[in-house]
C-alpha cells in the first residue's frame, strides 16, 4: 500500500470582510483541524449593497448556516429574520416548492393540462395559496400533503449575520488581519505566495480565497459579461404592513429592484445601468479557480437582478471548495473539476436571469435571447412539458417549471402517460388535493403573527431562565 504522499494546504488566506468571506472562514474552520491548517481572513471593508444581496437564503440541504450552528430560529430572532414563499415578479408569482403530485407516473402539470381544470395551476401549490393570504408555516411533516411539502426562503440581515460569524470563526482559530489587501506576491503561473496588506504586513499563504467583492486582485480576465455595466445600491425602509411572505421584483428599461422583507425593515437592492468605465458589469468568472486562488461570492458571480439563489451558489461553492481542498503541490485536476462544476452553476443562474428578462417575449424572440442550450430545454418544455436537467443543477426542475408556468410558458401538449389515469379518477384526485391544500393552509397563521409568536416565545423562555 502506497503511503499518502501529499502536502495538504496549511495556510489559507481569505480576502474580504463580508458574508462570503466569513461564511467560508467559519465553515473551513469547523471542518478542518485548525491546529494543522492556518486560516487568515484579510479585510476590513465591505460594499453594503453587495452584502445585502445575500439577504435571501434558500432552505436546502446545502445550507451552511445550519451546519455551522446558526438555526432558523437564530435567523428569525437575532438577525431580523422573516420568510418568503415565492417571488412576485411584476405581478407574476413564482411559488417555492413543488406544485401538485405525480399520479400514475406522470408529473402533475400533465394531469392539470389534460384536465383543463378551472383551478389555476398554482392553486395546487401550498406556497402559492398561503402567499395569497400572507400566511406562513414552516415546512414540517405535519403540514405536508402526502408527499407534497411546501418550501420556504429564509430572510436575514447579512451584515448582522457577518457580525455573528466573525466571533464564531475566531473562536475556532481563524486569524483576522483587519486591513484590506492591496497587493499579491504572485509568480508567472498565478501561484500566490503572500498577500500584502495596506498596513504594511504580509501574510504568507498556500491557497487564497478571494471573497473581496468585485476584486480582480488575482487571475486572468475571464469575466463573462451578461449585460451592461450596473451600479448596485441598497436602501433599508420600514417594513410593509401586512408583512408579505414574498420577494418582490420590479424592472424597467434601466433597472431591477429586488425587495426582501425582514421583520423590522425592508431591504431593496437596486441594480441600475450605469454609464461608467469603472462600474462592474454583471456576469461571472468562467474559471473561478486560477493558480492557487478561488473567487467566491460577488468576486465570482455578479447578478443583474438579485435572486435568492446567489446565496445558494455561494454555499455550494464553499462546500465544493472543501471537498476539493487541494494538495499544495498538486491542484491541476481538482482545479479543472471545480471550474467545470462551478462555472456550469454560474451559467445556470445567469440563464435563469435571462429567462426573467425575456419572460414576456414571444417564443421565437425568447429563444434567441436565451441562448442555444437553454432555448432547447425551454422548447422541449413548451412542446410537451418535459424539462431536461443537466448534471450541474443549482436549480432543479421545480424552479424552472414554476417560473415558466408563472410566465405563461405552458406546455402545448401533455405527456400521454398521464392518460393512463381515468378522467373521473384524475378529477377526483385533483379536487381532493385542492381541498386538502386549502384546509392545511387555512391553519397557517399570518406571517406577522408567526414571527411575533416566535419572538414572544423566545422572550418568555429567556425570562423564565433568568427568573
Amino acid at each position: 500500500m502506497n503511503r499518502v504522499s501529499a502536502q495538504p494546504v496549511r495556510r489559507i488566506a481569505i480576502l474580504g470582510d463580508g458574508f462570503a468571506a466569513w461564511l467560508a472562514a467559519t465553515w473551513l474552520a469547523q471542518q478542518l483541524n485548525t491546529k494543522k491548517t492556518e486560516i487568515t481572513v484579510i479585510g476590513n471593508s465591505v460594499d453594503e449593497a453587495t452584502e445585502l444581496s445575500f439577504a435571501a437564503l434558500p432552505s436546502t440541504p446545502d445550507d451552511l448556516l445550519g451546519a455551522i450552528g446558526i438555526s432558523a430560529l437564530d435567523l428569525l430572532i437575532q438577525h431580523d429574520g422573516a420568510y418568503s414563499l415565492g417571488l412576485d415578479i411584476e405581478g407574476q408569482v413564482v411559488p417555492c416548492g413543488a406544485v401538485g403530485r405525480a399520479f400514475q407516473g406522470a408529473a402533475f402539470h400533465h394531469h392539470w393540462r389534460l384536465a383543463n381544470s378551472p383551478q389555476s395551476y398554482f392553486q395546487y401549490s401550498p406556497s402559492y395559496v398561503a402567499l395569497q393570504d400572507n400566511r406562513f408555516a414552516p415546512p414540517l411533516p405535519r403540514n405536508a400533503i402526502g408527499g407534497l411539502q411546501h418550501e420556504v426562503i429564509r430572510h436575514a440581515d447579512p451584515l448582522s449575520l457577518t457580525a455573528a460569524l466573525r466571533p464564531i470563526a475566531r473562536q475556532r482559530g481563524v486569524q483576522w488581519v483587519a486591513h484590506d489587501a492591496h497587493g499579491l506576491n504572485c509568480d508567472a503561473s498565478h501561484i500566490i505566495s503572500s498577500i500584502r496588506c495596506d498596513d504594511g504586513t504580509t501574510v504568507a499563504c498556500d491557497w487564497v480565497i478571494d471573497a473581496s467583492g468585485v476584486s480582480r486582485l488575482a487571475g486572468a480576465d475571464d469575466w463573462l459579461t451578461s449585460g451592461d455595466a450596473r451600479s448596485l445600491s441598497a436602501t433599508r425602509d420600514v417594513p410593509e404592513q401586512p408583512l408579505r411572505p414574498c420577494i418582490t421584483i420590479h424592472s424597467d428599461a434601466a433597472s431591477w429592484q429586488t425587495r426582501i422583507p425582514l421583520w423590522q425593515q425592508t431591504i431593496t437592492v437596486h441594480s441600475r445601468i450605469a454609464d461608467s468605465d469603472t462600474t462592474p458589469t454583471p456576469g461571472y468568472r468562467q474559471t473561478p479557480w486560477i493558480g492557487n486562488c478561488v473567487s467566491l461570492g460577488a468576486s465570482a458571480y455578479r447578478s443583474k437582478v438579485v435572486l435568492p439563489w446567489q446565496s445558494l451558489l455561494l454555499m455550494r461553492s464553499i462546500r465544493r471548495l472543501l471537498e476539493f481542498l487541494p494538495d499544495a503541490r498538486h491542484m491541476q485536476a481538482v482545479r479543472r473539476a471545480y471550474n467545470r462544476q462551478t462555472s456550469a452553476e454560474h451559467a445556470e443562474l445567469a440563464g435563469f436571469e435571462r429567462l426573467l428578462e425575456c419572460r414576456a417575449l414571444p417564443d421565437n424572440k425568447r429563444a434567441s435571447a436565451l441562448g442555444a442550450t437553454l432555448a432547447r430545454r425551454v422548447a422541449l418544455w413548451r412542446r410537451r412539458g418535459h424539462w431536461v436537467n443537466g448534471d450541474d443543477t443549482l436549480l432543479d426542475h421545480v424552479h424552472w417549471t414554476n417560473a415558466l408556468m408563472a410566465f405563461g410558458v405552458e406546455p402545448d401538449q401533455h405527456d400521454p402517460i398521464a392518460e393512463r389515469l381515468a378522467a373521473a379518477e384524475r378529477d377526483t384526485k385533483m379536487a381532493e388535493l385542492a381541498t386538502k391544500i386549502t384546509q392545511i393552509v387555512r391553519e397557517f397563521p399570518p406571517l406577522s403573527r408567526y414571527i411575533e409568536a416566535a419572538h414572544r416565545a423566545v422572550a418568555e423562555q429567556r425570562a423564565g431562565r433568568s427568573a
Binding site: 499518502v4 412542446r383 410537451r384
Partner: protein, 483 residues
C-alpha cells in the same frame, strides 16, 4: 423489452404496437448479467420478481468479480453498494486511505457488505432503510436472456401488442421525407406505421441499412470485436456475482444461473483467432458443454444518430460496448425510458429527437469511459493485446476522471447516466489507482478512535454477512427455476 414497456406506459388508444420478429433469426441471448436498474424496469411493468426469476432461471447478483485485470493473480469485486458509510459528508474511502498505510486494516472490500456476502455465497434482500448497514447495497440478476424475451413477449401481447412472425424483405420510404412508411414480410404482408423502432440487432435493418444513420467506431478504445460463447452444466453452487477474468487477448465471463452457467471469451481478433479463443475457452470450462460454441462478431461503438427520421434504434442496433460491466441490457432500458418520456406526439418531433440523441450519446460515452478504465488501469504487458492496450490514447473525459481521483480521491460527479461514484471508486481502487491525498476533514478524528471505528465496522460487516442465507438455499425458497 421495448414492446412491453411502451405498451405498459402509453395508453392503448394512443399507440398501436406491432411487433415483427423472426424465430429463425433468434436471440443473441448472451446478455445474461444485468445491473440493479433492471429491477425498476420490471417493477414498472408490474412483474413479480419471484415469478420472473423462476421463469428465467435467474440468480441474484451482488457485483462483478474481476480476476487478473490489474495483474495475473489479482482480484477484486465491483459491488452494487457502498464501502462503509460517509462520515460528516466525507466518503468512507478517505478514512480508509488515511489509515490503510499506517496500520493494516485489510482490503477496503472487507468494509463492503455485498462483497463480503457475495464471496461467502450468501444473499438477502437489502433493507429499505439506506442508513443501516443492511440497506447499503443493491442487487441485480443473472438470468437466461433467451427465456426473458418470451416472458416479456407474453406480457406485451397481454397488453395489446400484436406480434407478426417472419422476416422483413423490404422497407418502404416516403419519397420526399425519406421517412419509413412500411415494412413488407417475406409472406407478402405489409405493415405500415407512423414510427418504427429498430431492435434488429447488429444488422440495423432500418436504422442503418435503410436510413444510413452511421456508426461511430470505438475499436481504437475498446479493441475486442468477437466473442465465443457456450453454456455449460453447473459445476458448483451458484455464486451471487458474475466473474470476468482477464485473458491474453481479452477476457472471459462466467455467469451462474440456476440450471447452468453461461461462459464466453471476448477477444480481439487481431490478437487471437476464433479457433484459438474457442480452445482457450474450452480449456477453462468448469462444467460440461450443453451446446456448440457460438461465435459473435461486433464492432464496439454507437450509432451516430440513434433516432433518425421516424426510427429509433434500441439494443444492438443502437450500439454495442464490451459486455464487461453488464451494460447491454441497461442501455436497452435507458433507451426505452428516454424514448417513452420523449415519445412523438405528432410528426414534428425534432426537439424530442435531438434531446434523445444527445442523452443517449452521453449514456454511451459514460459507459465507454468506465469500460476503458478497466483495460487501461493495468500493469499487464504479458501479451500483444495488453501491450497494445498500454498505447491506447484514452478519451479526455476519462483522463480527467483518473487525474482527479489520483490527485484528491474525489469524483467529477454526474447526475445523468450509469455508474455513479461507488462504481468508479470500486474500479479505481480495484485496479490499483490510489489517491495521493485524502480529505483533510478526516484529520478531525483521532487516529486511534478512527482505527477502532473502522475495525468495529469491519466486524459488523462480517457478522451481518454471516446472518444472511446461503444463496442457493435462498433461490430454492424464493424462486426455484421453472425447468
Amino acid at each position: 423489452m421495448t414492446a412491453a414497456a411502451i405498451a405498459t406506459a402509453l395508453p392503448k388508444d394512443r399507440v398501436q404496437i406491432t411487433l415483427i420478429e423472426s424465430e429463425s433469426i433468434g436471440i443473441v441471448g448472451v446478455g445474461e448479467a444485468t445491473l440493479p436498474h433492471l429491477r425498476r424496469f420490471n417493477e414498472n411493468l408490474g412483474i413479480d420478481e419471484a415469478e420472473f426469476m423462476a421463469a428465467t432461471s435467474a440468480t441474484f447478483k451482488l457485483g462483478i468479480e474481476f480476476r487478473d485485470w490489474r495483474r495475473p493473480g489479482d482480484a477484486y469485486i465491483h459491488p452494487f453498494g457502498d464501502y462503509g458509510n460517509p462520515v460528516n459528508g466525507v466518503g468512507f474511502h478517505h478514512y480508509w486511505r488515511r489509515l490503510a498505510h499506517e496500520s493494516p486494516l485489510g482490503d477496503i472490500s472487507d468494509f463492503s457488505l455485498p462483497i463480503v456476502a457475495g464471496l461467502a455465497g450468501r444473499f438477502a434482500h437489502p433493507a429499505s432503510t439506506p442508513d443501516t448497514l443492511a440497506g447499503t447495497y443493491g442487487y441485480a440478476y443473472q438470468m437466461d436472456a433467451t427465456r426473458y424475451a418470451p416472458f416479456l413477449r407474453r406480457l406485451a401481447e397481454s397488453r395489446g401488442v400484436v406480434r407478426h412472425e417472419g422476416r422483413v424483405v423490404s422497407v418502404d420510404q416516403a419519397p420526399e421525407s425519406g421517412d419509413i412508411t412500411a415494412v413488407t414480410m417475406e409472406d407478402g404482408q405489409r405493415h405500415a406505421g407512423d414510427f418504427f423502432i429498430d431492435c434488429s440487432g447488429f444488422f440495423g435493418l432500418l436504422i442503418e441499412k435503410t436510413l444510413g444513420a452511421g456508426y461511430e467506431d470505438w475499436r481504437h478504445w475498446l479493441p475486442c470485436d468477437r466473442a465465443v460463447a457456450v453454456p455449460t452444466t453447473r459445476a458448483e453452487t451458484a455464486r451471487p456475482y458474475t466473474q470476468a477474468s482477464a485473458k491474453t487477448a481479452g477476457w472471459q465471463w462466467r455467469i451462474p444461473l440456476q440450471h447452468r452457467d453461461g461462459n464466453g471469451y471476448v477477444f480481439c481478433s487481431e490478437c487471437l483467432s476464433t479457433d484459438g479463443a474457442t480452445a482457450a475457452l474450452q480449456e477453462t470450462l468448469a462444467g460440461d458443454p450443453l451446446a456448440e460454441v457460438r461465435e459473435l462478431r461486433f464492432t464496439t461503438g454507437m450509432r451516430k444518430r440513434q433516432w433518425h427520421h421516424n426510427c429509433v434504434a434500441i439494443g444492438l442496433a443502437g450500439g454495442f460496448l464490451a459486455p464487461l460491466e453488464s451494460t447491454s441490457i441497461y442501455l436497452i432500458q435507458a433507451a426505452i425510458e428516454h424514448l417513452i418520456t420523449r415519445f412523438p406526439l405528432d410528426g414534428d418531433y425534432a426537439p424530442e429527437r435531438d434531446d434523445f440523441n444527445k442523452t443517449m450519446q452521453q449514456e454511451f460515452e459514460r459507459v465507454r469511459d468506465f469500460l476503458i478504465l478497466h483495460y487501461v488501469a493495468t500493469e499487464r504487458t504479458d501479451s500483444a493485446f495488453w501491450r497494445h492496450i498500454q498505447s491506447v490514447q484514452i478519451p479526455d473525459s476519462l483522463a480527467e476522471r483518473i487525474a482527479l481521483f489520483r490527485e484528491r480521491g474525489v469524483f467529477d460527479e454526474y447526475q445523468q447516466g450509469l455508474f455513479l461514484t461507488p462504481s468508479w471508486l470500486a474500479v479505481f481502487l480495484g485496479q490499483g489507482i490510489l489517491p495521493m491525498s485524502y480529505d483533510p476533514r478526516v484529520d478531525q478524528i483521532e487516529e486511534a478512535v478512527l482505527r477502532q471505528r473502522l475495525l468495529e465496522l469491519r466486524r459488523r460487516v462480517a457478522d451481518h454477512a454471516g446472518t444472511m442465507q446461503v444463496h442457493n438455499d435462498y433461490l430454492a425458497d424464493y424462486c426455484p427455476a421453472n425447468l
